[in-house]
Amino acid sequence: MAASPHALSSRLLTGWAGGCVWYFERRTIQESPHKFMHLFRNANKRWITFQHFNFLKRMYVTQLNRSLNQQVKPKPEPLASPFLEKTSSGRAKPEIREMRPLSSPSVSLSRKPHERELMELESASIIEGSANVGKETKDDKQWKEMKLCVDDLPGILARLSKIKLTALVVSTTSAGFALAPGPFDWPCFLLTSVGTGLASCAANSINQFFEVPFDSNMNRTKNRPLVRGQISPLLAVSFATCCAVPGVALLTWGVNPLTGALGVFNIFLYTCCYTPLKRISIANTWVGAVVGAIPPVMGWTAATGSLDAGAFLLGGILYSWQFPHFNALSWGLREDYSRGGYCMMSVTHPALCRRVALRHCLALVALSAAAPVLDVTTWTFPVISLPINLYISYLGFRFYVDADRSSSRKLFFCSLWHLPLLLLLMLTCKRGCGTDGAAAS
């Protein structure tokens, strides 16, 4: 049980990242109690489902109430930008559907449960949108001055850059850094994290800049700063530039040019390929999966300076994970995609959607087995990760066969704890740590 400096650093990193997410989670809880109380008071929403998530340390506890409406707190997800991005911009959360009366063509966003819908397993509505309903309904009815208030600016910029998502992208980069061989270099690690964080902020801001009218029409995204006019498009673009330039500069000159190049490429891929492609072709899902796979690769190249097989393996794991995650989520959002003009597999090619999700669940099993072969982890890793990989594959299979909302939700929620747990197991089984009774490095 040699406690090498690298092993110690990895452990500290695990603890830090876990603490980071714990902090974000607690902040969200602290900010939201009044929203939850409002929801409790609301007669239409009788049960609330909470999902607590700790990226590296704890598992989410999911309580699904099968017969009633459910809502889920927004969870920090350790997945790459596009899918949470898709969550935010491209797709509204699965909502409680209302039956609109024939006479009124209104597409009101506040909905009441319908009895028939109640009888079916109802989809969850992510709280970030619906929890804001109580607060926003009052604001919504008022006209507001479009004046930038400096006090609000940090909050506005945090929402513009999707700070929680950025934190999770940085976490996957950290995981890539920690899993790379070689001594753990703290300054390099910090520079990588900050640089990646800034690049992610820039990419998310540009994405929101492009998608204002689409975001307005989706429930979860309708409270974004640009949609609400809290910030001008010019300021959003300026902010994005002020994040991208130092971020990429940090990565290129503070870490290494390869990482910098990957950062630039990822920003480009996300803003100029993925975002427009969402409305053109279903290929956006694959592009988005690549966007999600690049941050851990960046972490790896920051530590080693080269694109090794291990980097591709990590990227591959993140890439494959995106599909069960996103495809399952998109299953419940078909109406909003259709209305908003988003080209998603769940709408245009439903069978393909489910097939791809299952295929990539199985790919995760194979990739986990490849980890020791490529010297990233010990052989303990595929063994101990097999239960969770088999479980997600089972849920993927159920989704493939049943093709209903209940199976899609189960698969989605499973993906939320599956990835952090998988990365945690990888970290603990890292080759060269000399821990956990693994083979000597």
Binding site: R97, M99, R100, P101, L102, P105, S106, V107, S108, L109, H114, E115, R116, E117, E120, D140, K141, Q142, W143, K144, E145, M146, K147, F209, F210, V212, P213, S216, N217, K222, V227, R228, G229, S232, P233, L234, V237, P276, R279, I280, G332, R334, E335, Y337, S338, R339, G341, Y342, C343, V347, T348, P350, A403, D404, R405
Partner: protein
């Protein structure tokens, strides 16, 4: 529908204005006709600046910013009431007019889109229920609905049908968004320049 898609397909402000007349009248009727209740001078300015759709709102006379309202019931977009300063430069005027026009164009597109979606969805539900031989209302008097899998066919069809329309819209939206942001940048630079060179700035009473 052909006129709408034609208007949006051609893009450009002139053709959109032609298209607007076809589609805005019903919306105008809903929103027009409410005069401003405030001071006459401000009221006059309100009528000049605001599109008729939001003419019912007038900001306080002391305000010199734009105002943004609640989401529109049909388009879900938030209307903006633009402030016209007395010493508005040509560039600022161009920016304001571009934003106003884009707002109208967006409003038309999304209101039309959402209404069409609702309408076609109802028609689909009707025809499917009829084909299944079911009543439109359940015994309890609630409207009958189809489950997600049955609706999937409709969603797929609606998306494919509107694909071209969305392509034209996307192109136009990106162009306008970039143009607005670019002009905002120019206006910001112009204002900074004016502040730095006060002697050359045109003074107003």
């Amino acid at each position: 529908a052909p006129a709408a898609s034609g208007a949006e397909g051609r893009g450009g402000m002139a053709s959109l204005r032609r298209g607007r007349r076809t589609f805005l009248p019903p919306l105008r009727r809903s929103f027009a006709g409410r005069g401003c209740q405030l001071a006459p001078d401000r009221g006059a300015k309100c009528r000049d600046a605001a599109p008729s759709r939001i003419s019912r709102f007038c900001p306080p006379t002391t305000s010199c910013c734009d105002w943004i309202g609640p989401p529109d019931k049909y388009s879900n977009l938030r209307p903006v009431h633009f402030y016209i300063p007395e010493n508005e430069s040509p560039l600022e005027q161009k920016l304001r007019e571009l934003r106003q026009d884009t707002q109208e164009w967006n409003q038309q597109f999304w209101a039309n889109q959402n209404l069409t979606f609702s309408k076609e969805k109802e028609e689909f539900i009707h025809s499917t229920l009829k084909a299944k031989g079911l009543e439109l209302r359940t015994e309890s008097g609630q409207r009958a609905t189809l489950n997600a899998e049955e609706m999937a066919a409709f969603y797929e069809r609606f998306l494919s049908k509107n694909f071209q329309k969305h392509m034209c819209y996307n192109r136009e939206w990106y162009k306008r968004n970039f143009a607005i942001t670019f002009f905002m940048g120019k206006v910001a630079l112009e204002r900074i320049w004016n502040k730095l060179r006060p002697k050359q700035k045109k003074t107003c009473n």
